[in-house]
């Protein structure tokens, strides 16, 4: 493929974090949504998945987190097979789910309850809310917040669980461009923060600029049943700028991959 040139070498940074082998999923009885999916994430890596609407990206994330068990294949975290859901792999849903009867703090704290002391939980929850830029809204109810604010609460909640892997399904789609941008860089600095337990992020996005901005590697999904039709390593220095000519090369490349074409 023409992408080979830009892919560069296949050598990797650090150890494998999340890995799946020959993953396939079908909703009971119907045909496979996707099949033979193999992907890996490495330490300190942000991996993006792109693909046309309805290819099964959200479903793939659910399977990766074992929120729905795979029909075929296996998922491994640090070499151990994942057989049940765990906070180690936290999913941030495409549709924002916050509990209407809980304040922001309580919505975040819910993942810590019964695990650590209440005071400590509150502390962590408040920190995370601060981290996503919602300081001052700790006692607000979701109803009193905009969609983007609620999404940030959901992200704070995922972070509070101190996951190794974070699966994010279109996390920035409800945000205005400015907030999205600042949150993108936040997410980025969290991933590369050595103190944090978060090792890699799998990001599903329709926004190719966002993907090129953030991702170290991109898997392109397509076909029916869907499979990985391409893997692109984004070899751009950070901080990345859209001004850079190479930036657009990557966007174009992804765009081409996503264009309808005959299955190979």
């Amino acid at each position: 493929m023409s992408t080979q040139a830009l892919n560069g070498s296949n050598e990797t940074i650090g150890e494998v974090q999340l890995e799946c082998k020959d993953l396939g999923y079908s909703y009971s009885g119907s045909s496979f949504i996707f099949k033979d999916i193999n992907l890996k994430t490495y330490t300190d890596e942000l991996v993006a998945i792109v693909g046309p609407s309805g290819t099964g990206k959200s479903t793939l994330l659910r399977v990766l987190g074992n929120l729905i068990p795979p029909t075929t294949g296996h998922v491994f975290l640090n070499g151990t097979e994942v057989k049940s859901p765990s906070p180690k792999i936290s999913l941030v849903h495409q549709s924002i789910a916050t509990f209407p009867w809980m304040t922001a703090v309580d919505n975040v704290k819910i993942v810590l309850r019964g695990k650590i002391e209440d005071k400590e939980a509150t502390e962590i929850a408040k920190n995370m809310i601060g981290l996503v830029g919602l300081r001052g809204y700790e006692e607000s109810y979701p109803k009193e917040m905009s969609g983007g604010m609620r999404q940030r609460i959901a992200i704070a909640r995922a972070l509070a669980a101190s996951p190794t892997i974070m699966l994010m399904d279109e996390p920035f789609v409800h945000l205005d461009e400015l907030t999205a941008n600042s949150l993108r860089s936040e997410i980025y600095s969290i991933v590369f923060n050595p103190v944090n337990e978060l090792k890699s992020v799998v990001l599903v996005s329709h926004n190719l600029h966002e993907v090129v901005q953030l991702a170290d590697r991109v898997y392109v999904m397509g076909g029916s049943p869907a499979g990985i039709i391409d893997e692109i390593k984004i070899d751009l220095p950070r901080p990345r700028s859209e001004e850079e000519p190479l930036f657009y090369e990557y966007v174009k490349m992804l765009y081409k991959d996503l264009m309808p074409k005959e299955t190979k």
Partner: protein, 541 residues
């Protein structure tokens, strides 16, 4: 007894129930539509329904029957009274459910329907009515069960030595049981069971389909092969554009929020609003006063010398009422515990649930009063021998439980199934502990269903007491009666032609219940409906 007679009687009773349910549903659609369109009507309507929903009119069963019988005369009186009681037992739940469904239709869907000029009927058909299916389906089953329970006990009614009856399976069973004609009893029960099973299956499929298809992103999978295929095809073509639209529109606000903003835009004067509420309350109070008045009317027809007796008995009557409150409380707590544990278990064991649920449904729909005499006959010798002190108490509790538990059970069960997938995944993802999950997620999420279910359970428990505390000739010539209990005072009073004491006691009960429901139940419901709406937790469903 002729098999044809039995079949006809079963059909007669079941049709009463079905027709009343249909009337409730259809009238509910119109009333709810007007309510969401007209602020003033909404206020009247909602306060009215709320008050009634929390009053156990069914607890006034004997006195209501008397009022209708004396007012309209024998058979017609019983027919209307029976229908009235059944209607009262089911209608409030259905109406309030429809209203809430209409109220939570996302604003963008309403805008779509207005944008494309659906017209009034088009909007009803394509949007409002389909949107109310999940709620109706959650209400329809317990309503059916409750209705059947009360139709059984109100088809025949005796005052003194006169017995009034209408044609129906309840009447046949009572006749056969008191005649000791067990074969006929079994035949009746068999045919009734058949009818109940058929209706349960139909309702069950409707409910499953409604939750899967018209609920917001629930885990229940949409089933393509539905028994009422022609209807469904119609529904599907009719509703799917809007629903797909709902699913794939991402940047929309939740319905309630928009409706609220939309509503604040509608100019309403506060006094206008308040007057609406007052009218609603006034109508509800009028009804209570009507019952009160009728009771007083009956009391006035009693010689003066007896009045004094009633006043003297009042403290004792209040004490008996207290005992009944304890009974209702116990039954409610047991039903609640049962509902939560079983409902939770079933929600987590899909395979189990698909086999057990229809069984529970059939059992709960099978009206306890119909077969209870047999339970009594079978258990009485054993209980009298082993626990003579609590024997009647146990019977009354069992009857109450059988007649009431399903309301809260099905409420909870439907509530759990209505929780959007994302939340369940969240619970699994973060390994939220059982206790936290129950206390902070499952119970609050099902709170609106639980409150409605509990309120109905409490109301039905009163009805159960009305039936069970005094049941003359329950089996051959035995009589089931408790030692202490207000409902017994009422029922026994009527049976012994002492209408005055029954009326006076009902009046006392009406006052207590009125105060209790307005102070307590209504506020609880308000809270549930304002704060605990899980569907609102999903942004961009």
């Amino acid at each position: 007894m002729e098999l044809t007679t039995i079949t006809l009687a079963t059909l007669a009773s079941l049709s009463r129930v079905i027709v009343l349910i249909l009337i409730s549903i259809v009238s509910g659609w119109f009333l709810s539509y007007f309510a969401v369109k007209n602020r003033r009507f909404e206020n009247i309507y909602i306060s009215f329904v709320n008050i009634f929903e929390s009053i156990p009119v069914i607890g006034f069963l004997p006195i209501v029957l008397i009022i209708f019988i004396t007012g309209l005369g024998g058979t017609l009186g019983v027919e209307i009274a029976a229908d009235f009681l059944v209607f009262d037992a089911i209608v409030w739940n259905i109406w309030i459910g429809q209203y809430q469904a209409f109220k939570t239709i996302p604003q963008h869907l309403i805008e779509v329907s207005e944008n494309y000029n659906f017209g009034w009927w088009g909007k009803m058909r394509h949007l409002y009515i389909p949107f109310s299916y999940p709620r109706i389906s959650s209400d329809i089953f317990p309503s059916f069960a409750d209705a059947l329970f009360y139709i059984m006990v109100s088809e025949v009614f005796s005052v003194g030595i006169t017995s009034y009856k209408v044609f129906g399976i309840g009447t046949l069973i009572v006749q056969a049981t008191s005649a000791g004609d067990l074969n006929s009893v079994y035949e009746c029960l068999g045919i009734l069971a058949l009818g109940v099973v058929v209706i349960t299956i139909v309702f069950g499929d409707f409910s499953k389909h409604a939750v899967a298809k018209y609920g917001l992103n629930t885990p229940t999978e949409i089933k393509r092969h539905f028994v009422w295929r022609p209807h469904i095809r119609k529904w599907r073509t009719v509703a799917s554009p809007t629903f797909q639209f709902a699913r794939y529109t991402t940047k929309m606000k939740t319905g309630r929020e928009n409706i609220q903003t939309a509503m604040t835009k509608v100019r309403t004067s506060p006094s206008f609003e308040r007057s609406g509420k007052y009218i609603g309350r006034a109508i509800a109070w009028l009804f209570l006063i009507f019952i009160g008045y009728s009771s007083i009317h009956v009391i006035l027809s009693i010689p003066h010398s007896q009045w004094l007796g009633y006043f003297e008995q009042t403290p004792n009557l209040l004490y008996q009422m207290g005992i009944d409150y304890i009974r209702v409380f116990v039954v409610t707590v047991v039903s609640f515990a049962f509902a939560i544990s079983l409902g939770y278990y079933l929600a987590n064991h899909k395979k189990m649930s698909s086999t057990i649920t229809p069984v529970i449904q059939t059992i709960s729909a099978f009206p306890a009063p119909a077969y209870f005499p047999l339970v009594f006959a079978a258990m009485a010798p054993f209980l009298i021998h082993n626990i003579p002190f609590a024997e009647t108490e146990i019977f009354v509790m069992i009857l109450c439980f059988l007649g009431t538990f399903y309301y809260v059970f099905f409420g909870f069960w439907v509530g759990v199934r209505a929780i959007p997938t994302e939340f369940l995944e969240l619970v699994g993802n973060y390994k939220i502990g059982f206790f936290t999950k129950m206390r902070r997620i499952i119970l609050p999420a099902t709170f609106p269903y639980l409150v409605t279910g509990l309120s109905s359970t409490i109301n039905s428990a009163w009805g159960g007491l009305a039936v069970g505390e005094y049941w003359p000739n329950i089996y051959q010539n035995q009589t089931l009666q408790v030692h202490t209990g207000m409902m017994k005072v009422i029922s026994a009073g009527l049976a012994n032609n002492d209408v005055g004491i029954a009326a006076w006691t009902s009046l006392l009960f009406a006052v207590v219940v009125g105060v209790y429901s307005i102070v307590f139940t209504r506020n609880l419901m308000d809270l549930a409906r304002k704060k605990y709406v899980i569907e609102e937790g999903i942004y961009a469903a």
